[in-house]
Symmetry: C2
Subunit: 605 residues, 2 copies
């Protein structure tokens, strides 16, 4: 039943050898890995304008140079990550690069930061997607949390089905979004060029009285939130078809190009049409309205934008399980994150991500907007560390032409570091949590690794010296009467060794006398020890008896306790049998170093 439901939801299990077929082509990779980055253009320009408006409408022209600066940063990041891809063809996320060049501790800061960030991505994106839907259909507003949870569940299931299938399905909205924004930019530019929609806007370079460097930096850092998600490609190289690094590098360039054009296009249109951020309407919505009016095309663009925001969460679904896999391989996370599921994805990582982000949505009651700055910091910390790592790498290896590459990474590192610091100083009240969860996550990583190390130490043997030792064997068979189950158990025990002893726990003398008498009559060739329990507990006398046996024979013999267990035909019949054997098993297992053998007795009625 459960199995059938599972098959229906995620499909038939796949062979390990089908893995290569599951890998991504460039075009599909673009769809799977870029929705997070591309969706940022829906709010990037707006973030800049919101900050600038603090200095009045006259300051909006600064959005153009700032957008160009963001574009510059994007270029640096793309070039930098391109270098990473070729240096780390088996997947060069911030964790790997930082660990490799700056040491494990730094790597864990980057990895932990990203792990938490992916969870935030899913929570924030699914809430944002829900907001887009409820803006269009206000009557759904009371069901926000439910809608977000359904979205998360849907994404989780799609990803459990496997990479290729979800890519085919999820690619369409990404392509549609890119297409729509390009149409918007071209139409808007043509309309402006042909003299339509001119607005009174401050000229580029016009003097603004109350502008400050701090404000400009803040605007720049806000605009940088458009760059979250750029790292996804370099993390996911193992998901690409061969030649993986070439394909990944091309995909990254393609994504950077598309993102850059869309971002600067939106910024220019916003400036040309004199658009300012409004409480109730997004900048993209205003541009679309100014270009096409409130017609079919307008609603189409709004719809596709809502969809891409929601799909941004999907990037995290590719990145989180892979990063968890790498951390698990290094023993910083539980082994279970290394296992591939029925459909060859890292199911445990996918499920873990789904559950945690769903919990965040529930705890924040769907209002996850406040997590956005936290989420941006969580991206820029690993950006910085990753580039610092690349700098160290160039210095160490010094391949031909390393100086140029070193320069690229240095500029990138300094910029992202600056942005991180600006985020921390200008939005401390929203990002302080990072200083709590990061140390906590890293502490956990270390605890887990030290447990695995201890386990490995305890389990390790010397193949040359440690060989099996053959000892004697004593088998203890607790009996409650003389039944077929006891007959089975005694037969089994006697087949293994001659040292078999049956134990009977009686509640009064009468009981014990009768049992001894019947045992003598039966005479199964096994000695019966009777114990009297004054407190009506079977466990305690048995436990003491086993301690005595241990004291006598532990050196020379393996001690086994044989516990018969009924397997009833129907589950409800279990409540008709005292579960003493389960109790004995659980208790002895926790307290004693003896082997517990369960002899099943399948009842057929």
């Amino acid at each position: 039943m459960v199995n059938k439901l599972k098959r229906f939801l995620i499909g038939r299990p796949m062979k390990s050898t089908e893995l290569e077929g599951e890998k991504l082509s460039k075009l599909k990779a673009l769809a799977v890995l870029s929705s997070d980055a591309l969706s940022s253009v829906a709010y990037g320009t707006e973030q800049i304008l919101i900050v600038l408006m603090a200095a009045g409408f006259a300051a909006v022209w600064y959005s153009i140079p700032i957008s160009i600066a963001v574009l510059g940063l994007l270029t640096i990041l793309v070039l930098s990550y391109r270098q990473t891809i070729f240096s780390y063809p088996s997947g060069g996320g911030a964790y790997i690069v930082a660990k490799d060049n700056l040491g494990t501790s730094t790597g864990l800061i980057a990895g932990g930061s990203l792990l938490v960030d992916y969870i935030l991505t899913v929570a924030v994106s699914s809430s944002a997607g829900t907001d887009a839907i409820t803006s269009a259909f206000p009557e759904l507003h009371d069901h926000r949390v439910l809608i977000a949870l359904v979205m998360i569940m849907f994404l989780t299931l799609m990803n459990l089905r496997g990479i290729t299938e979800s890519a085919s399905f999820l690619a369409i909205p990404v392509y549609l979004f890119v297409l729509s924004i390009f149409v918007l930019i071209i139409s808007g530019t043509m309309k402006y060029a042909l003299g339509g929609g001119h607005a009174e806007v401050p000229e580029l370079g016009a003097a603004v009285s109350n502008i400050s460097l701090f404000l400009l930096l803040k605007a720049f850092s806000s605009g940088c939130s458009a760059l979250t998600g750029v790292e996804a490609v370099s993390n996911a190289i193992p998901n690409f078809r061969q030649p993986a690094e070439r394909n990944a590098a091309k995909t990254l360039l393609m994504m950077g190009l598309i993102l850059g054009i869309m971002f600067i296009g939106i910024s220019l249109l916003a400036y040309w049409y004199g658009i300012t951020p409004q409480m109730k309407e997004t900048v993209v919505s205003q541009i679309a309205e100014a270009t096409f009016g409130r017609g079919l095309i307008y609603y189409w663009i709004q719809g596709v934008t809502a969809l891409i925001l929601f799909l941004a969460a999907n990037t995290a679904y590719s990145a989180f399980p892979l990063l968890a896999y790498m951390l698990a391989k290094d023993k910083f996370m539980p082994n279970m994150f290394m296992a591939r599921g029925d459909r060859l994805g890292f199911s445990n990582g996918i499920i873990f991500l789904g559950v945690l982000s769903a919990l965040l949505v529930i705890v924040f009651d769907g209002h996850t907007e406040n997590l956005i700055p936290l989420y941006a910091v969580g991206v820029f910390i690993p950006f910085t560390l990753s580039q610092l790592g690349m700098m160290v790498r160039w210095l160490k290896h010094k391949p031909s032409g390393w100086i140029g590459r070193f320069a690229v990474n240095t500029v990138g590192m300094l910029t992202t570091l600056t942005i991180t610091l600006i985020f921390i100083f200008t939005k401390f009240s929203q990002v302080w949590m990072v200083f709590i969860f990061l140390p906590l996550v890293i502490f956990l990583f270390h605890r887990i690794r030290s447990h695995y190390r201890n386990t490995a130490d305890q389990l390790r043997i010397d193949l040359a010296k440690d060989k099996p030792v053959i000892k004697g064997s004593t088998i203890v068979v607790p009996v409650a009467g003389i039944t077929r189950v006891v007959l089975h158990s005694i037969s089994y025990a006697r087949s293994l060794t001659d040292n078999v002893v049956a134990v009977y726990v009686g509640f009064d003398e009468e009981d014990i006398r009768k049992m001894e008498q019947r045992w003598e009559e039966w005479n199964p060739g096994v000695r019966l020890i009777t114990l009297r329990s004054r407190y009506r507990s079977i466990l305690r006398p048995l436990y003491k008896f086993i301690e005595t046996v241990e004291w006598k024979t532990a050196e020379t013999d393996h001690i086994t306790i044989l516990i018969p267990q009924f397997i009833t035909r129907y589950w409800w019949q279990n409540i008709l049998h005292n579960q003493t054997s389960l109790l004995i098993r659980a208790y002895l297992f926790a307290h004693k170093d003896i082997v517990i053998a369960t002899v099943p007795f399948h009842m057929n009625k």
Copy 2:
């Protein structure tokens, strides 16, 4: 931790031999067993008056002859149950008497009826007690269910502590109630005799125009609800100190006498003071007010009345576990109801009663008043069957003077049968459920018994013929690598038999080749079989392999599978280890008839 809490709540465990000390003296038995019966006087007279008021105020004088009739019935019941006590000194509840004389099926009707009834008693009484409290403190009204549940939990814990201790504790309110009602009756009578408080009341024998026999019978049957609980003493004879039956008989007479005096006293006072039932004030409250005014004594009487109503539930706590024990002894209920707990009470029965009545309170949201008629029918059915049983017994054995005894039981049987029928016909809408739950309970009784019979059949062996058979032994050891755990397991297996085979499930050729190579290097003297799992499942290849082994050796050998299991030092460490061994164990256990031996590996870090 759990153990400490248990000790704090219910006290230290007691030896079986302390059972005699736990038994009840007459005076304590009166308190434990009579609170249900005695508390009925709080509403018995009122029930009669409510029905009579349908014929107008002129009809209230009928309450006196009806009360006398109820008193007559009480006498009959007491005499009848006194006869039962001496005939069944080991406990003569309706179940035993009916089963013994009328056959098992009839006995089960009586037993099932009573079992359900005891659950209703607890639910109804705790709700009624809560009502009494919330009448005094209306601000608690919103917490009715919670208060009732706390009461049930308190009673459950007291009863788990043991009979004597709860008797000492619970006896006081019963004595106080009896004392208070006696003071009320004496004071009220004196006041009336001295000429105070005379009211205009219809004379005894005055003509009433619209009275009918049906109405009078209905009033009588309503008054009979005051007799519920009379059977408690005869069920609980094994709880009495020796000589048990003499003590029980004396306690029964004492209870009957007290109940009779209180009941007729209240009825007379109600008549003398011309009291009619009111929506918001009970008859007892009106009498107390008429006698003492609304002073300290009035509130005292109200308080003690509330307390006794609540304590009425305690009767069920003595009766239910004993009846369940008897039914379990006859295999109609699960064995677990036969086990005495740490404090020598039948803990499972006590807990079962507490849980089910708490569920009833929750389901009915504390409004259990509608269950009262159901509860009365549930008492009068076994009353009738028990007396019918006694009639048959006299006819069968015919001891000296049997005719008089036969007459007592015949009169009793006919009266209780009539009352049962009146209940069913006048209150069918409230009691129809009895025709559903009774057959259901009896069906369950039979299913349980037939399961135990089948089990016994399957387990029974012939001591003379069925002897242990010694066969060969094959031990299968699944291994995941070469570790100390594997060394332990192989050593253990080799100590038992030479037919040991290790099985390794690998995910690819490389894996398998490496493992084979290391095994050869180790050379533990055991053959290694390697299996390839294309779907990354360990369970399925292993299962198939075991089927092959079974096919080859099941006839000649016992097959054992040895499963190593980690026991981590801290519980959270468990999530760091794949629980494959648990999974394998559970799966094989359900599907195969082979012995599963678990080799523990206690980790010390």
